[in-house]
Symmetry: C2
Subunit: 268 residues, 2 copies
């Protein structure tokens, strides 16, 4: 049996290890290897060292748990518990020297993410999500409970997506209808956008093509702060198998429904 | 006569005052007023308090200098010296709780920016530019001289712009031609993009519609780090009157020329 409070503390140990592995490489000019057959999907030594450090700690502490990570082969297991790791979510931002990437550590029970940590080593911010709550700490303030902001209407909402050019065809039309309905749209933040939503600054995050490691840790954080993480049909993203794909995160279930209603053309 | 080393130290005093004025408001949920007739151009109490604090210090120390700022009327003067202030560049990011806005403090001599400070209060980063150099400090490292990275070809370059939807018609075509030629494009960073260029992570920043306060402080920083700040015809942005408009910042003069060549359709 795995105790969740214990697992949450251990997830922070993993985040500490990832920070120590990554920070010496940030803005140090190291090379990025392209792992994509087409286009540019960079991976760095920092990604590898961060994930390797976390995996070693998990195998020592919870040798029976499964491990899934961005950079190495799955470590399968019959256990109900699976660690889902993105050693650097936002490697493109990382190699550009921007501070909006993050380390994502999720723990799923029978496929459902129940604990999540988002750590930003450069800003020294850490978000934690767990059943019934979420919190945040930074050099500017001690750990405090998170609450998304009271649901504004769509016309008052701030929308985020990482890169508009990741949408094409019908997906682009859906994004642009949603963008037109919102007050403001900001771009380019990867996992940090979900952190800003949990902090109460952003209302909606709209993305496609997510892998399990991109979203597992963020679901407990957004849900713990009172928000919703759904797919584009309105089903809970935490129930998807595999996790990921098309995701809409919202500060409330009501705002999520208002956003989903904009994804299809209005009938006339 | 104004001594530049003295003025640079004083610009840091302004940045300290701005930090103190802004940080209590960041992520505090305060209201944003819309100052645009159409669309959404937010201004907050933090913008006002930051600029008021800086203006009071300037009028005390350099009563004969002109002052131009985003939120208040120009303070005219016959002096050759003009302070050009953006109390929060990236107010949209600020109200969304993102860490990529900044305080911009420029000092121009006869219209030409000669000193610039970019301060990020939340990450506690500070960039300084001055004739012949630029530097950066953060909680992760003592002040160090900045140098843009050795000019890669356009096919290796990382391009940044804040919001692709700020381009329309021919401007959008130019942006998309440049984007197609670059290795990677990232979005949404306002002044922080120029800071990342001076740090050697980003190679190109491409923007339109800039006001003098959006660019004055950034020109000495990028130039001091070895980069170039031009308009879209290739003329030095520091010579433009008024400052601003369409800007291309590049890690080197050579890369800037390669980028400018992409802005027009290829002749066939």
């Amino acid at each position: 049996m795995t105790d969740l409070a214990d697992a949450l503390g251990f997830a922070e140990t993993l985040a500490d290890a990832a920070r120590a592995a990554i920070l010496p490489h940030f803005r140090a000019g190291g090379p990025a290897r392209n792992k994509a057959a087409e286009g540019f999907d960079p991976v760095t030594l920092a990604d590898h060292e961060s994930e390797a450090a976390m995996r070693a700690l998990i195998r020592q502490r919870f040798p029976d748990h499964a491990i899934e990570g961005e950079e190495f082969e799955d470590h399968p297991s019959d256990s109900d518990w699976r660690w889902i790791l993105d050693p650097i979510d936002g490697t493109r931002a990382f190699i550009a020297g921007l501070p909006t990437w993050g380390v994502l550590i999720g723990l799923a029970h029978r496929g459902r993410p129940v604990i999540g940590v988002l750590d930003q080593p450069f800003t020294q911010e850490r978000w934690r999500g767990y059943p019934g709550g979420a919190d945040h700490e930074s050099p500017h303030g001690a750990r405090r409970a998170l609450q998304t902001r009271p649901a504004a209407g769509l016309g008052e909402a701030i929308l985020m997506t990482t890169d508009r050019y990741l949408f094409d065809g019908e997906e682009l039309s859906s994004f642009e209808r949603l963008r037109d309905a919102c007050r403001l749209t900001r771009y380019g933040m990867d996992c940090y956008a979900y952190g800003a939503l949990a902090l109460g600054g952003v209302d909606l995050v709209f993305e496609n093509g997510l892998k399990p490691v991109d979203i597992a840790a963020l679901i407990p954080i957004v849900e713990g702060a009172g928000g919703a993480v759904l797919d584009w049909t309105g089903a809970p993203a935490g129930e998807a198998r595999p996790l990921g794909g098309r995701v809409l995160a919202a500060s409330s279930a009501g705002l999520a429904q208002a956003a989903l209603a904009r994804l299809q053309p209005a009938s006339t």
